[in-house]
Amino acid sequence: MVMVLRLVDPARADFGQQLAAKVAQAPDFYRDAPVVLDLETLARWPAPPNVDFQALAGAIAEAGLACVGVQNGTPHLTQAAKRAGLAAFPSARPANRPNAAAETDGTAVAAPAPRAAAPAQPPPPAPAPAREAPPAVVQKVVKGKTRLVTEPVRSGQQIYARDGDLIVMGTVNAGGEVLADGNVHIYGALRGKAIAGASGDREARLFCQRFDPELVSIAGLFRIADQIEADLIGQRVGIRIVDDTLVIDRLS
């Protein structure tokens, strides 16, 4: 899984603080995550600035992330990044993306001042409104080890299976939250929130033995309890994405 960090103003002194604050929102999600710096905004400056990539990479490492490379830079910027030991990635942005001008980063604070950097949105642990599909690079989910949870997931607990599947043997109670980059299997009742494909894998699926959730989501698409047909409540269900919609199937 790779996260994209859009660099808007390389000279901001509070870059590190902003980033640390973002990471603090979901430390588990961001821990040691690889980051690619997106230079598209800088490349559109009339005179692209000189950027101290070494210092930036240092600040990113300090926030608990790992800067691995850059993308969408001018040749000059990309060269500077390479000299700082960073890799140059090909542009991940398909030309016809509807939201290509993505400075209006939904998750970041809408500060009137230009932001130094806003981490490109990974689908957050507790998804907010339905959002665009994450950038292509984010969809490369590396399959990790399956995480097994044998205790009930209680109100206020959050369990995240990074890079892999999650199996919950008991119930997920109201106020509890389970997330996985891969599939989520719940062998008890689901009364809290369950999120599969947390970093954008649209192939991920969600299964549970007794369906009564607060929220279910796959790859950013979600439904809250109010949007779920009453006759599905209490049933065994499987959930997947079909044609950009969340489909909840009853399992016989």
């Binding site: 209680r154 109100s155 206020g156 607990q157 008991g170 119930t171 109201a174 106020g175 009364r191």
Partner: protein, 272 residues
């Protein structure tokens, strides 16, 4: 081996202090040397329910801060020689307690007592976390209603992560569910959650079901733990819970199935 038991719930007003007083007294009646400790600094109530509010000189905070010796702060119950109270301070707040201080005092108590019952404040913040920190066992006090059940669920999660046992990766805190203010009639009418539903959500063993009973308020007001009123349903239910805590296998007598209410009971609306 001393057993440190925290009485906790998350939600306020569910009956933690009443249950601490009743179960602590019940253990002392069974000749277990018992101390009840009030962790609700700033809102001390346990001494009232225990009927020793006029005898508090030094309190738990004084001992934690080294301003008084443990022996000076322990108040011996007038009814049972094996029962002691460690009152909370009314003039301080929860910040007056430190983790190190609490651990030191609880360890001292372990040397003298069989049972140390810690009455937790409501909430999930520092006060509640300190009350559970040293616990070997926890009694989760829950009312048969959704908000109480959810808060209990939250507390159960904290017991798995914020206690000394969790930090040291020892055997987890043993959990017991104590259902209080249970009204069989209201459950039958669907106004309260059923026992089975609560057990299904919380999935911990049931220590007892204490019926809603006017004897509880009467007991609190007179400073006599309700377990001393063995005529009352609540008193009997607490006695059963104490027996189970001591390892006896007892059927759950309460709730009785809601009896069909007779003509006069319906007419006068008296408690069944």
């Amino acid at each position: 081996m001393a057993r440190v038991i925290v009485m906790t719930s998350g939600k306020g007003g569910v009956g933690k202090t009443t249950s601490t007083a009743a179960i602590g007294t019940g253990l002392a009646m069974r000749e277990k040397k018992t101390v009840v400790v009030d962790f609700d600094v700033g809102l001390r109530n346990l001494d009232l329910i225990m009927g020793c509010e006029r005898r508090v000189v030094y309190d738990f905070v004084n001992v934690v801060n080294g301003e008084a010796k443990l022996g000076q702060a322990l108040i011996r119950d007038k009814r049972f020689d094996d029962l002691y109270v460690l009152a909370a301070s009314q003039t301080r707040d929860k910040d007056a307690l430190t983790k190190e201080g609490v651990v030191r005092v609880i360890d001292q108590l372990r040397e003298q007592f069989d049972y140390i019952i810690c009455d937790s404040p409501a909430g999930i913040e520092k006060g509640a976390q300190l009350a559970m920190y040293c616990a070997d066992e926890a009694i989760i006090v829950t009312n048969p209603e959704v908000s109480s059940v959810r808060d209990s669920d939250r507390i159960l999660g904290l017991l798995g992560s914020k206690t000394q046992r969790a930090e040291k990766d020892e055997e987890p805190v043993k959990q017991h569910l104590l259902l209080t203010r249970y009204d069989a009639g209201r459950v039958a009418r669907g106004e309260m959650l059923k026992v089975d539903d609560i057990l299904e959500i919380l999935s911990i063993p049931l220590l007892g079901i204490i019926p809603e009973n006017e004897a509880v308020l009467r007991a609190s007001n007179t400073g006599n733990p309700v377990i001393l009123d063995q005529e009352s349903t609540a008193g009997k239910a607490y006695a059963d819970a104490v027996s189970r805590l001591l390892g006896e296998q007892l059927e759950h007598r309460f709730p009785a199935e809601p009896r069909p209410r007779g003509f006069f009971a319906r007419l006068f609306g008296g408690a069944a």
